[in-house]
Symmetry: C2
Subunit: 339 residues, 2 copies
Amino acid sequence: MTTAPTLEDVARAAGVSTATVSRCLNMPDRVVEKTRARVMKAVSDLNYTPNFGARVMAAKRTQTIGAIIPTMENAIFARGIQAFQETLHAKGYTLLVASSAYDPALEEQEIKALVARGADGLLLIGQDRDGSVYDYLARQQVPTLLAWTHGADAPCPTAGFDNRAAMRGLAEVVLGKGHRRLGMISAPTATNDRARQRVAGVRDAMAAAGLDANALALVHAPYDIDSASTAFEGLMGQSPRPTVVLCGNDVQAAGAIHQARKMSLAVPEDVSITGFDDMDIAPVLSPPLTTVAVPHRAMGQRAARTLVAMVEGEDMQPDAPLATQVILRASLKALPQAD
Amino acid sequence: MTTAPTLEDVARAAGVSTATVSRCLNMPDRVVEKTRARVMKAVSDLNYTPNFGARVMAAKRTQTIGAIIPTMENAIFARGIQAFQETLHAKGYTLLVASSAYDPALEEQEIKALVARGADGLLLIGQDRDGSVYDYLARQQVPTLLAWTHGADAPCPTAGFDNRAAMRGLAEVVLGKGHRRLGMISAPTATNDRARQRVAGVRDAMAAAGLDANALALVHAPYDIDSASTAFEGLMGQSPRPTVVLCGNDVQAAGAIHQARKMSLAVPEDVSITGFDDMDIAPVLSPPLTTVAVPHRAMGQRAARTLVAMVEGEDMQPDAPLATQVILRASLKALPQAD
DNA sequence: ATTGGGTATGCAAGCGCTTACATTGTCCAT
DNA sequence: ATGGACAATGTAAGCGCTTGCATACCCAAT
């Protein structure tokens, strides 16, 4: 056979109609045991795989969920997506992942590609995107869930945590340790609401502590080790120098620690450093990293459950945000009392 | 409008036939300017997106490439896949990624899902899988490329490097530093030819140096930090204790270093540790990690070019394996000469 | 034996798109 | 004027599958 077998080939081989074969595959209990056995044998003899395009076109459901994550370059989204996939799989859905490299235009293309491909639902990260994208999604009636963020006022249902409150919690701990000159390395905030919220969280804490929120020494850098190193170097060049640098993410914190070592600055003696995410590497860095633990797996699972419910037409009442937790490790130290 | 517009809706709105609309979209120069403008206006007025299933079914090409990677949990495959995607994108293809969690059965399901979805080509990692899988792929006539591995005798074309030679190169350096009692932490080798090859590479070097290859203290652990920590602890419990532990991967090396610190073993004074991959974290660990640099991006790009060529029916002569490079950093030290 | 009520199966109409082929229209050479 | 060549567009036949409806069949009850 030079071309892939079709339903009809199977039907012929089993001596039944295409309808029966289709039913065997999709609603096995509507076909009597004996026939089904014969059909299944033909299926495996011919090594038949249904043609997806045809199936979609006829049935209008794909049992496929699409997800677009900003990056696969580091593990930020990996754990959550893995859990998301596992849960989807258990529910009979297949996950297709694309990565946008933090580029809104690319993301938009990928959204269209996934929708065109018949994704029954979409998972996107964060809520910063052009209104036209949400219009398009609404128009195409594709249930969409936003993860890694939380908000009742978001343009779609969300499954995530409150980035602002989470970072504020960490900043409060930092301030509680006596730090007053705060530095921060954040991802570019233009199209990244999570990053923006984290910055806002730090400022919230500063304001609440009676500090000038604008005094935050803020530097932007992409989520990679080298950029963060450079950013850290810049921060350390300022005077007075910050006593602590809060990083928007553990990867950046790793870069900061790395750079500190290069500059012969002891962490935390000369400068404290914190991260965000509590990735695998956080406890392994030296010094081990103070960070914010994000419930990645729980978020992925919840996202899967919610999105499937949306796809299957159930009403979902909005979820509360997931809780995050400050993890204290050696990279943050208390400042000696000055007053 | 309650349902997505179809080609026919557009045709009606523009006052032309569906064929003309289709041509506007797929071969614009076969339609005269004036008509095309009218059609395009209708398209954007209606916010029309072609139905992928229908298009696939009629045209039999999807411009989609599928990739299945063993894990997204850590960044092992991330850089390569990212480059793969970028190159595909430049060539007008969309990449769909699935993760098999190192489970052959899951991988098989995902292969079928991707094929059924009309992937024009497939990228798989390594070559260890049931013959029936390759039969299926041949049957379905889906061009398939194996990455992260190299071999003229592989069941499909490959785009990668020689794991065995790469690890042998590192082991030779290690032996050259005077180490004689070697420990190794490898991923489970049952369905992972890359891991198996790396072990073989170490044994090759040992044998070539006149050592007993069976004297290698080998422990298996999945690619995560905690498992590697445990594995390292086991290795250190043996006596005589290895003077160096070669890890199948940088993540495992991170776990090993972490565990060494916990056990108050100084690296590299008490024990040397090496990794594989030269991930971002390798230079950031303390001590910085001696490892093998793998040309991830080059591999991803080559894979994309080769696979697209295969999909488009060009003949490809087999490529040479990509070169790897031993990166010496502080985690490996020379042993004092004993003789 | 008949009849009625289920069940198991077959029939055939699409699903939205592409594309080979047919048709219509245009323009130029004769 | 007329025919021919070519360009622009339309017509309609699938692509492989699902599913509402029709048919065939089986068994129990009469």
